[in-house]
Amino acid sequence: MSGYVSRFERRQGTVEPLGEQGRTVSAAATEAVSIELRRVEQSFGQNRVLRGIDLDVPAGQFLAIVGKSGCGKSTLLRLLVGLDRPAAGSLRFADRSGNTVEANARIVFQEPRLLPWARVVDNVAVGLGQVIDKDTARVKALMALDDVQLTDKADQWPARLSGGQRQRVALARSLVSRPGLLVFDEPLGALDALTRITMQELVSRVWRELGFTAVLVTHDVSEAVHLADRVIVLDGGKVALDLEIPTEHPRRHGDPDLAVVERRLLDAILG
């Protein structure tokens, strides 16, 4: 549990919280990318799923995309990670000095999608993608497992882990290549309520430490409000609401300010 700061300690002020300014970027980290979407459209047959999305996400921001089922959030996610190409409009990633770059985007799915026949450390090494020598791969994978506090499970089979631990392995797999952009697709949807809270803290901490740009797609408004700097509501393939959440990280569950934001978002979504 080294490096893990309990909520109690933070509240008591015994440990300095890592705020937006105090973020430490590890030397190995790929630089966070900014995202620029211009009039992005996507349709499947007659169904226009995205109808002209304009969006600028600064490097290092934690953006949450919420909306009802079928609002186009999964489609947008697939565009961001390069699984699909937009039918119209442009999509650009840039580094902090404005040069267009490859995003090196990674995705965390709702299900961990671990290879059951590979040990935890080898599953994490899958995230390295390109072929590198085994020892280096193992060292890097162990470092990523350390980020999610699972080094002790490195040589276990995934079948032996709990649901939350599997999702942490999946997170480590997406972190191991030190991505500039990390996209979460309902990453905690399949977990029980208490594990979700622990995982939210973990995601938040990892994001603050590594400094990547994060996009969270979810229909859990409270989760979006807890984690993100900014929440956008998609409705009918358009951005219906764009809301900054200035509250400092790390955030406490049950914060009254956040509850107000959450109410506003829910009103916007449910109409």
Partner: protein
């Protein structure tokens, strides 16, 4: 009381997923239990033969079969025939199994290949391969080729069907994950598709082993000049019931041995699966 002390001192060593930890004395019993029924049957058989209730022409006593075993072993005929049959079985398994595996993988991965060959394979499969014996004898005579052809043909289909099924049923989400992480072609196959299909391939292998022995027995009885099937068939002509029964027992032993090897391979290759974890 001591038995329980042993169990509680070292509970983890023997703990299985199905059974709670058992003391050492009872483990022995667990191993013996599957053989209790055959052992009792043999004892009853011996008793009835000794009492003269069973004619030796219909069924020789176990002691007669044991004597035949020793006699055949000493003459060297037994080892020779077992070696010949074993080599035939292995050759058929390798040839038929390889063809079935490759076809299953190819058709599982490629839609075009499946459309091209699957219907033909399914049609061939519906022909009982033993019905081809007359034709095979016309083609190859009673040489090794006829046995190899028939065993390979018999082994091919279960391996093909199960491999195909296994490859097709690999979790789509894992394949998508692999692609997102830059796997393609051979890497994707080696890391995701093949391990995913392996449990199913093993089912095919074990099924194929049964068909392999069946085909070999039949083809050796009909068209061979060596092997266990030939030994049994020759013994029938000389009314040597004990050798006939001995041949059957050897088939049973070889079949069991093959299954044990396949199970061990399976356990080893699928150790990631909770079903096979100790």
């Amino acid at each position: 009381m001591t038995a329980y002390d042993v169990a509680s001192d070292r509970p983890r060593q023997r703990r299985s997923w199905v059974l709670p930890a058992l003391p050492a004395r009872r483990i022995r019993l667990e191993w013996l239990l599957p053989y209790a029924v055959p052992i009792v049957l043999v004892l009853v058989w011996q008793l009835f033969s000794s009492l003269g209730w069973i004619s030796t022409r219909i069924m020789p006593a176990p002691t007669d079969v044991a004597a035949a075993f020793v006699e055949q072993l000493l003459s060297g005929a037994l080892l020779h025939n077992v070696a010949v049959s074993g080599a035939r079985a292995l050759a058929g398994l390798i040839v038929g199994g390889t063809i079935g595996l490759l076809l299953g993988i190819t058709n599982g991965v490629s839609k075009l290949s499946e459309q091209l060959t699957d219907t033909s394979l399914q049609m061939l499969r519906t022909i009982p391969h033993l019905a081809m014996i007359p034709l095979v004898i016309l083609w190859f005579g009673i040489g090794e080729e006829s046995k190899l052809f028939l065993t390979s043909l018999g082994v091919l289909f279960p391996v093909y069907l199960n491999t195909f099924h296994g490859v097709r049923n690999v979790d789509r989400e894992l394949i998508e994950m692999g692609r997102i992480y830059g796997m393609s072609g051979w890497t994707l196959f080696r890391k995701v598709i093949l391990p995913g299909a392996l449990p199913s391939i093993f089912v095919g292998l074990r099924y194929a082993l049964g068909i392999m022995w069946l085909t070999l027995i039949v083809s050796e009885s009909i068209a061979a000049s060596s092997g266990i099937g030939h030994m049994a068939n020759q013994a029938r002509e000389f009314m040597m019931t004990d050798v006939v029964v001995l041949s059957l027992l050897i088939y049973a032993a070889l079949g069991k041995l093959a299954d044990v090897i396949a199970r061990a391979l399976e356990r080893n290759a699928l150790s990631w699966n909770p079903v096979y974890q100790k």
